[in-house]
Symmetry: C2
Subunit: 457 residues, 2 copies
């Protein structure tokens, strides 16, 4: 394998992109100066119409489709019967810009400094899906047609948890159906190296709530008389995960799929300096179990994290109180093929058995998503990224945090690939969000190259 | 045993007390209208001088003795060489009166309603030690001398934890030394029945503090990578006390003295409606271990209460955070002959063994105090209470909360008795603190009767 795209020849398209560099950057500036803050309900509908107009203008058959929340923008161009259909997913909403006072230049007044464009949403996600759209524009300008069938789906509620995505995908199954989906979001590898993501872990959040007496009591007069809800939760939790780091909820690991040899091989190639990570976190040792490798922790195993534990006195000094209530908030990161419903049922059964008076409250969940590294679409995508980025990408099996990729892999049943274009220090969700302009241009080239490679299948 | 005082004849003294009822109540009103709030440093020095003057005037040789905090008032009258010397302990400081708006009449404008005097400090503790002083005054008025030797020690910092009592008792050992100490504080039994308290449990407060990474982390990116301080504390705590309610810290129960047959007998006589207690607390079952009796829980066993557990997210909904720090606050109630230093050393050793990175921070402690039910002074005190109160008192072995009685039993090495005079609904530490005037007058009689019975030994 080389860092080249094999028999891909995109010299003409890449030249067009380089020639139009300034116009493309102006187009990005025009897009990111328009606020579209889903959390605050600011500007979303207007920006949906705006980006739909951009897509329509370059030749996509585009609709703005209402949902129970903010609308979806769906464009398509089905030029090549028999060729693969690629769904490009992105989101046109952005994070709130607070705290405003920490921005060097205002979040919706785009500013170029040191080769980067600073603006809210420039990396997350406007610059990245605009790169895909401009890839389509460039291919159409130079070649007169697209190398494969393309659908573009832009959501307006990703930054508030994509509440209407699963229902939308189910209801519009035929309209969005494709052979694969590519999402360009988030950053390249910490090292700056480009990468292809094959999935994410799922997540299940829940709360455990224990009650003792009907009021706080004096520990001298009622300690040992009234049950202590903190002790109740301590003893319950200790039955759910042991000190060696193993989750001891019955059946918890039943559906965990072992990593494939290909995944193990890919994880082994990911760059990591474990000592540097420890130093940066200020820890002497990684969490139990100690023998696991860094990426094995994030890809191969579900986790059970206590996000918070609160009950009783928390002020300065001491207070001899026997608290009447305590609450624990937890999340479980799910790996393939665990299912949120099944794991929650197992947690509920465990609590019912060990501490029947403790209340279990289910909160949000997302299923894990995993695309095999040997998917037939993986190789053309790799070739496209290698040519567009000018380097061999890292291949990253499903690991880390959670995104709603499962709506594609589990509801549509199609492989999902992440091809991020942003710099690792894009400061998404933070002040001074930015995108390196060179990465924006490379993103346009990468989009064109991936689609061309997929069209050659 | 009858509800009478045996061969005690105090008809003349009781008649004197009844005749001076109004004057005694006026004296109490004059005392409680003077604020002496140790927590706010309001009026303490003035009230120390005031009550010292009252004591001097009735014929006690009285001094106001400075400490590193507020002064002690010490009076004595040693009329009877060879007779026992009784130390009467009380405190002239009061709780802050907040919240003021909940008082029906202002806290320092004493008001009589329905046979009760309402004022801050009337029950806790001015009315109770003034009853003892007026008992001395009545005995001197009627009999011309006291039936035994008497010392009166009034503290000005009891409501802020008696920080200077141990040092004062050690430094003034000879001046305060007596054969026994009697404290009249707190209420009679919940049922309204009078009682004699033979001690209190001790207390040891401490904090456990666990740290993970140097900052809060994303649970998807760092769960299973960085240690979770909440899990660390959960697993540590689970090794310190099991779900059956047994403390599993090595050596924790080593020094626990079993209840004596007399104590078991006394506990069995204490009135309790366990179902009514459960209903009042809103609990279905008492804490583990289930088989223990109500008073056995409070008298025979040390407890290990978690007062508070705080770490990570505690707001509404969920947050997928991996917290970097968590804190647990605890108290242990100590029974005879456990020692706070020894138990803390055992806790420290346990934590060092099971979770060496968890910090253990010692907070306040008080030793337990226990006077044998068959102390030779118990019977004369019982006779005095029976005559003064007109009913047989309950005998209460050391149980419940903690008071600094150990400065008498452990530092001076003398037996300590509690003979509370206040009604169970005195609302000490709360708005509308009050004392039933009939109990105040009975307290004066009880004081006179106890000293007379002790003088007959």
């Amino acid at each position: 394998m080389t860092a080249q795209g094999g028999n891909l020849d995109l010299a003409d398209v890449f030249a067009y992109i380089d020639e139009h560099r300034d116009a493309f950057i102006d187009q990005l500036i025009d897009y990111v100066r328009r606020p579209s803050i889903s959390a605050h309900g600011v500007g979303i509908a207007e920006v949906a119409e705006y980006i739909a107009g951009v897509m329509q203008e370059i030749g996509l058959n585009t609709r703005v489709i209402p949902t129970a929340g903010w609308p979806m923008v769906l464009g398509e161009r089905m030029d090549r019967p028999g060729a693969p259909t690629v769904l490009l997913y992105g989101h046109y909403d952005v994070q709130p810009p607070d705290p405003l006072e920490e921005w060097v230049t205002p979040p919706f007044e785009p500013s170029i400094r040191d080769g980067r464009l600073y603006a809210r949403g420039v990396g997350d996600n406007k610059g990245q899906h605009l790169a895909q759209i401009l890839a389509l524009k460039s291919l159409l300008a130079v070649r007169g047609e697209l190398p494969c069938n393309v659908k573009v789906l832009l959501e307006g509620e990703e930054e508030v948890g994509s509440p209407h995505m699963p229902a939308f995908i189910q209801e519009h199954r035929d309209e969005v159906m494709a052979d694969l989906v590519i999402t360009s979001d988030g950053p390249v590898d910490e090292s700056g190296r480009s990468r292809i993501l094959f999935g994410v872990r799922g997540v299940l959040s829940f709360e455990l709530r224990a009650r003792g007496a009907n009021r706080d009591l004096h520990s001298g007069n009622f300690g040992g008389v009234a049950p202590n809800p903190i002790w109740t939760l301590v003893h319950l939790l200790a039955t759910m995960k042991n000190a060696q780091g193993e989750v001891t909820i019955e059946g918890f690991y039943d559906d965990v799929l072992p990593l494939t040899p290909l995944e193990q091989e890919a994880l082994a190639k990911l760059p990591i300096d474990e000592e540097a990570v420890k130093a940066s976190l200020g820890i002497a040792e990684f969490d139990e179990p100690r023998e696991r490798g860094y990426f094995e922790r994030l890809a191969a195993w579900p986790t059970f994290t206590i996000n918070g534990f609160h009950g009783g006195y928390g002020g300065p000094g001491s207070k001899t109180v026997l608290p009447h209530e305590a609450v624990v908030k937890c999340d479980v990161r799910l790996v393939e093929a665990q299912k949120a419903d099944d794991i929650f049922a197992k947690i509920e059964a465990h609590v019912r058995k060990h501490a029947p008076n403790v209340e279990v409250i289910r909160q949000g969940s997302m299923e894990p998503s995993k695309t095999p590294l040997d998917s037939p679409y993986a190789e053309p995508i790799r070739r496209g990224v290698a040519l567009g980025q000018g380097e061999e990408p890292l291949l990253v099996p499903a690991l880390g945090g959670s995104l709603p990729d499962y709506v594609f892999t589990k509801i549509l049943g199609i492989p999902a690939f992440g091809v991020p274009y942003a710099n690792p220090d894009e400061s998404n969700h933070a002040p001074n969000e930015n995108l390196e302009l060179e990465r924006f241009i490379k993103g346009i080239k990468t989009g064109a190259a991936m689609l061309t490679a997929l069209g050659q299948m």
